[in-house]
């Protein structure tokens, strides 16, 4: 039991962070606005959670320009995908 709880990742306890990682597991990359729309959150809220995922090195971002508008796209890192899979596995074990 103890080992299962150890695998539950605090970084994914929050809905926005969990949702972001879910989306990035099945999409190579996604831009800030699409992410915001899918999750139904505000700019500030999303930005702060993305920053914390970046800090954990679970996601990376890339800034590009679409015409004159700056666009930020996010992608999950290898580490992030691994951590997310472990987290899901831990949840599934816990629910058994």
């Amino acid at each position: 039991m103890k080992s299962i709880i150890a695998n539950i990742n605090k970084a994914f306890e929050n809905k926005v962070r969990l949702g972001t990682m879910s989306i990035l597991m099945v999409n190579d990359s996604i831009d800030f606005n699409s992410l915001k729309e899918l999750l139904g959150v505000t700019d500030g809220n999303l930005a702060s959670h993305l920053k914390s995922l970046e800090k954990n090195e679970y996601i990376t971002y890339e800034k590009t320009f679409e015409g004159r508008k700056p666009k930020t796209t996010y992608a999950a890192t290898k580490l992030g995908k691994q951590a997310f899979k472990q987290h899901i596995a831990a949840i599934e074990k816990l629910l058994k």
Partner: protein, 207 residues
């Protein structure tokens, strides 16, 4: 308490994975309405063809001139069917996308549409070429075949059931090419009956 939260989390994960990578706003009503339109069209076409044969064949010899009139009738039926089907499909899709809060014109729906259209347009051109060359018998089965291929091609970008619907339509199409003459009946099964069955299944499963 803890347990409920994690069950909820898993549900969110699945929902977001689907919503972000697939266009899932296909409504069961689209399938049902398109199926009914197709059945009516197949029935009218069948009557037209039957009437035409009784009027224009004498001891098995067919009056070749009269075929242009039949061709015109069938093309009109086909065009009306296509317009009505597209109309119903679009209306119910808009409705559902509003209801489940998925954007109608998005990366997901564009990918789905492109993957549907490539086999459909190629198949459509092929059918027109066969009509032009006077090879009418293969047209109905070929529409089934290419529609089936389009569904299989697009199935990764929407709800999974679409793939088996595509495979069934392909099988019906192949049978139709092998057994020319029952094309209209197979067409009624593929576009009519199967659409209605799948529409009902989708309503039950994904409502």
């Amino acid at each position: 308490m803890e347990r409920d939260k994690y069950i909820d989390d898993l549900k969110d994960i699945k929902d977001l994975m689907n919503r972000s990578s697939k266009f899932i706003s296909l409504s069961g009503w689209s399938g049902i309405s398109i199926g009914i339109v197709a059945l009516i069209a197949a029935f009218i076409a069948h009557l037209k063809i039957k009437n035409w044969y009784t009027l224009n064949s004498f001891d098995g010899i067919i009056n070749g001139k009269a075929i242009d009139a039949l061709k015109e009738d069938l093309l009109i039926i086909a065009a009306i069917t296509l317009i009505l089907s597209l109309g119903f499909g679009i209306i119910f899709t808009i409705n559902k996308s509003k209801r489940i809060n998925q954007k109608l014109w998005s990366k997901q729906s564009k990918t789905l549409l492109i993957n549907l259209l490539i086999p459909l347009v190629i198949g459509g051109i092929l059918c027109l070429l066969f009509i032009q060359k006077g090879n009418y018998g293969v047209v109905a089965p070929l529409t089934l075949l290419f529609y089936g291929l389009a569904l299989i091609n697009a199935s990764s970008y929407t709800i999974g059931e679409i793939k088996s619907l595509g495979i069934l339509n392909c099988i019906l199409g192949l049978i139709g090419v092998y057994q020319i003459g029952i094309g209209i009946i197979l067409w009624g099964i593929g576009f009519g009956v199967l659409h209605i069955i799948y529409g009902i299944l989708m309503k039950i499963k994904h409502n």
